[in-house]
Symmetry: D2
Subunit: 426 residues, 4 copies
């Protein structure tokens, strides 16, 4: 790979890194992707709302938040056409090139950031080299700055190759909140796709390693529960209200005690709580923020059903009400073994790759699974690749950074796989 | 009072002491009372079932238990007439004398024992002097042996006096379990009574002290709750059952957390638990035995209603069922201040009394309150007296014993009050 | 009482009402009181820090809050002398007049507001008549605007009378948070006082009623508890952290279950909770805000000791730490019956008083009790008066307002009591 | 295999079936095994105490229980020599034959019954054919009647073969309670063993199937916890005791909430609870019976450590004590893949075997793992075989029964494996 390409990949990734945007607010990111796609030249370019089944979007932030990020993007010069196409939090892009007869192959890349303030410490390369986040409190701490850069690199390489078939790149918004995969799938983007590739950098694997087909992503459901009681003076009239604090604690105590399952792994967590007004007032309202996971979609659904019963009964126990909101969810879908086998074979031939892991549990949740599930349902195949990168610290920490050399490797592996699909048809 | 009377009282109390019988099983006790009443001579003698509204009996033990005690009584020579009248746990006696015009006065005495093994230690007078319980595991540890002796003494004295009016003595079964007061009240025994006196020896007051009118007996409700789940192997199939153990613990944790009440004292307790089969099996059934109390009947009812909601919701929370049984209850009724005033006046004139407490909280539960409530409802007056006795140890302990000198005092005070009612009509 | 006086009282109360200041931030209020005292003329005037044992102050807000209110006061023209004397939240005033031989009498009035936004609705007199709170979010919703007006009225009347003795008025800060009574007592203000009068308007009693001596104020302790665990990813590493959320819920569940006490009333409440970061992260820190109360100081202390054990053990149970902060507390002290008797006698002679309640439970907490306790300890007497006022709605609601006619009544009753103490020496 | 052998196996299994004996009480079973061994003829015969490291025995029942079963055995004619060797619950047998040079091979069979009353229903073969349990309440409901019959069959066949080496059969007591494996291992029985075979019939596999090497047996620890508080009258003195009931419920609620682990499966269960005395008494003592399991020994130990912290802190939270007893435990050891490979190869050559599963998770706990661990520590190999049998209903149910045809199959497979080890030396 030429130095030019390598430099362009790094530059692009750093551009994304400097302007992190959270789920459903990737206006500036979308605009930059569109600009690159126009430069490369594609046959179809669907931006924003037209790519998404709007009603299937999950974990959409409040309008004010969306407008705030939109205004910021507008101030930064994002073209009106993009702002219009992505209005009200409909970010994302689907780009397609038609290159003659052949299979329909798709590549999915996510693009949202997380609400972690980026480190300013010396030794943190983005800080040292001047491409640290320019938006306080937000950061690309999971590699979703590198993902669209890689995907654009693959597209450019495929266009320049003799690949015969259809190639689509899906730039998916809102992966961090498990909100964007489903509306993209429901929007029909992959309905004609024969082979879908999704990928993630890092996840503990070093530069030079590839996991050809990840398995057992954790199915996940994110919910909030608001307990509603009635306040009263705790000294004079302790029985005059109904106690949302007690209802909440009964729920949490019993939620963690939901029975483990003989079929595999389950998880329950409440990670955030807030409510009540003052020490001497029976708490009127308390809100919990939590999630369940399962080794399979069924195990997640078992745990969520148990959790919802616990929440309703805990409210009833304290004569309160509870409002449960299903914020978002993702399902568990394994990579197709045949396609994963082709990926492994291809990867072994890439000089920069020293280790190929045929299959390994993902150990995390992913909403690319909605796209994979759709492709499988239509008779296609999909594989979720992990492409190693030497990362400084754990994902989702203020000093996370990727090894930019791995961007080239990722482009090379993915391009070779796409080409190979055209030839070998696994 | 003559030595003869004093000796007769002691002898009678010791006879009751030697043969303690628990609630609804006081067959031998009933027979002895009947024999004494026949010796004294009364105008009306109602034994057992005819004195009780059978369907209002509470905390009736299983048939086998009743039959066991009945057989024991039959073996001890209890006459068939008494056994017939008291069949199936309908113990108790109501005796009435008509002595011309005048008010209708009633005296209530309870007669059941408790399931505490009596001490055999030297220094425990019943053991030392040969009148210790002859039935293992049961004991008169609350003075209900002295109560019928005193009541018989009062009756004999009233008969011998120039009292003009009607005098009834109610020998009530099943006070310890709060089971006998209500059926006696519902049976109509006190429907024509103008003045009702109930009494208890001891309760921390020494010989020579009288509380003229106790107030604020605790309303009480005794319940059991059986949680029913489904068993499963805890290792292989932890989610295969529904866990009665967890349901029980959720209930207990939250029951003790029922809101205190601004209007006064409430209590909750679960004093006994049992259930499940083995360490590696999800518990299928667990039973709790508990109670609630309140400073007023309404406070008890508030707490019971809260408790029942907690129990049902705790079962629901763990997908179990719960069967709640209301074993028994007692209400809270205060002594009538006017009658208590007369009692106090009379007591001050009794030489053996050195301290008269006009009114004091009872601090315990009593089902004589059902009789008091009925009398008040019909326009009559009632008072609950506490007649002091130097007692060795706390009520309901294996070394409890009363000062037999206090029996004479009790007879004298109560007889004087009965006489005085005839004269003064408070 | 002249129309002039009546008008002056209302005007003064309305001035305080327009500028509510919370606990330890009563800079402007202090300045206005000082100005009035200088107008009236007193022999000793102690402002702020010199009146308080600084280290005994409780529930002091953060420095930034204090500085914000101080700056606001400075902007409103509060003299530098007052700002200096009250620096760093040392508000309050003690004023004394020496009028020859005779007893030392003191009157205590509190002066802080609460953080409730005042109603703007028609029918709410302060809104209708233009003296509504001028500081958003704060309001005199408990009558502590009227209290210093009344106290100043009494002082002026006593000065004008032939009272012989020493008369001190204590303008106490921070009553709402139970923070100011103790440092004022520990500061020595009442060490030479023979008779202390404290008072409150309203509390459900109408204009024309006086409670001569309140009893059984609830002892209270306000605490916060911060559970400190360690975060971890709830999906990948559920056992990798220590869960402050679970520790908190174990604490709350068991705190409400602290055993009721045979000696009287107890209360426990957690009215506010906040903590954790996100649904998929084991919560690292959760903070509770709560209180305990008791019918006596001992009962409050019993409950607080139990609560602290529960909090520490709940943290231990989940391998977390907990930091407990004792924010403030108040004790329970009854009015002296002799002094209350004198108050009742005097009040019966005041024409505007139609009902005198000799004694009644206060049913609330009060930190004037620290001053009362100090006076009693030195052999003096104290009484806590409730002076009725027709109030629109409950204390601590956005539409609370007092009947200004009751201000004159309060001044008259209190002045007559002070005079009477000089004459009768109860 | 001859009809004679087949009949002898069935007859022997039925003899064991008629006389089920629980853990550490297998006196009659031991005697019958000894008699069979004497018939066959072995070189070394170690009975009872000499085979066991007595202090490592776990889950030993009370002396009265042991004596009761011993007396029953004596009445049935068990020889004094066996009774002496097995005194005080030291059951079990180790038999060895020396057949020239060659490897040391051992076979382990367990022999205890469970406390389940056997079905009397028609269709339950043991009932229909007259070999139902003759001891009420106990039953061979897990196949441990067939296991010693099979082991004796293998021994007889090996003796009759040209096997060259040392062959030991371990008849292990107390497997059901995870009590006998460790003392047998610590007693040195397998210290010189090169190849250890353990086996179980059934476990859901039909006749004709063999699992060559089971993996991932669940590590397990069985504990009891007794909470000790102090009783008090729940009505009069609710704070006078310390509440073992509340301590227990806090423990259970939080035990089920012990964090799941990222490394694999964990389990917690409390399957039995009992305590307290009466509804109106604060519970003085409550005992829990429970267990933890883990997919690995480390995961079990993680969970047990968490559980013990929960138990101690729950006691502390309610000012109670807790006594934790470690009743028994088993560890997790995988079959050696090499030996399992040899087993699979041999099994494929057995005509009666139609399905060979090379390796599969055991899904249950086993204390043969202590013996396997010891062999591995000394450089040897072990494999745990599951030999299918068509079983009527689940293990540990009243109608469990094995297909007696599978006994022959088991003998054949195991004998062939033993012979093969001599030849092939895996």
């Amino acid at each position: 790979m030429s130095h030019d390409v390598r430099n362009r990949l790094s530059a692009l990734r750093r551009a994304f890194h400097r302007h992190p945007e959270p789920a459903w607010c990737e206006f500036r990111t979308t605009a930059r992707i569109v600009a690159e796609l126009e430069r490369i030249g594609v046959d179809e370019l669907i931006v924003g709302r037209d790519a998404l089944a709007s009603e299937h979007r999950m974990a959409v932030p409040p309008s004010e938040t969306i407008h705030e990020w939109r205004d910021r993007a507008a101030d930064a010069g994002v073209p009106t056409a993009v702002l219009d196409a992505t209005a009200d939090g409909h970010t994302g892009v689907v780009a397609t090139v038609h290159a003659g007869d052949g299979p329909s192959v798709a590549l999915r890349a996510d693009m949202d950031a997380v609400s972690i303030p980026e480190s300013t410490e010396p030794g943190h390369r983005p800080a040292d080299e001047g491409f640290r986040s320019e938006t306080d409190g937000y950061m690309h701490a999971c590699g979703h700055d590198a993902h669209p850069a890689v995907a654009l690199g693959v597209l450019e390489a495929v266009v320049a190759s003799d690949f015969s078939g259809t190639f689509t790149v899906l730039f998916q918004p809102a992966e961090e909140v498990a909100g964007g995969g489903k509306p993209l799938a429901e929007g029909g983007s992959v309905d004609d796709v024969d082979y879908l590739l999704a990928f993630h950098l890092g996840l503990g694997y070093p530069t030079g390693t590839v996991v050809a087909g990840a398995t057992e992503p954790l199915a996940m459901a994110h919910i909030t529960a608001t307990f509603e009681g009635a306040s009263a003076h705790a000294g004079k009239d302790p029985s005059g209200g109904t106690n949302a604090m007690q209802a909440m604690t009964t729920a949490v105590q019993n939620a963690y005690g939901i029975a483990r399952h003989g079929d595999g792994m389950t998880r329950v967590n409440f990670g955030r709580v807030e409510g009540g007004s003052a020490s001497n007032v029976i708490a009127e309202e308390v809100t919990l923020d939590g999630e369940v996971r399962g080794g399979t979609t069924a195990l997640m659904e078992y745990t969520r059903a148990e959790l919802e019963r616990v929440l309703y009964a805990a409210a009833e126990l304290h004569d309160c009400d509870v409002v449960i909101r299903r914020i978002s969810e993702s399902i568990s879908v394994d990579s197709d073994p045949t396609l994963a086998g082709l990926v492994a074979d291809v990867a072994r031939d890439v000089p920069a790759i020293d280790t190929v892991v045929p299959a390994a549990p993902l150990g995390a949740s992913e909403d690319a699974t909605f796209l994979m599930d759709r492709v499988h349902a239509n008779g296609g195949r999909s594989s979720y690749l992990v492409i190693g990168t030497d990362h400084s610290t754990s994902h989702h920490t203020p000093t996370f950074d990727v090894d930019e050399c791995s961007l080239d490797v990722a482009v090379e592996v993915l391009t070779d796989v796409v080409s190979s699909i055209g030839e070998r048809r696994p």
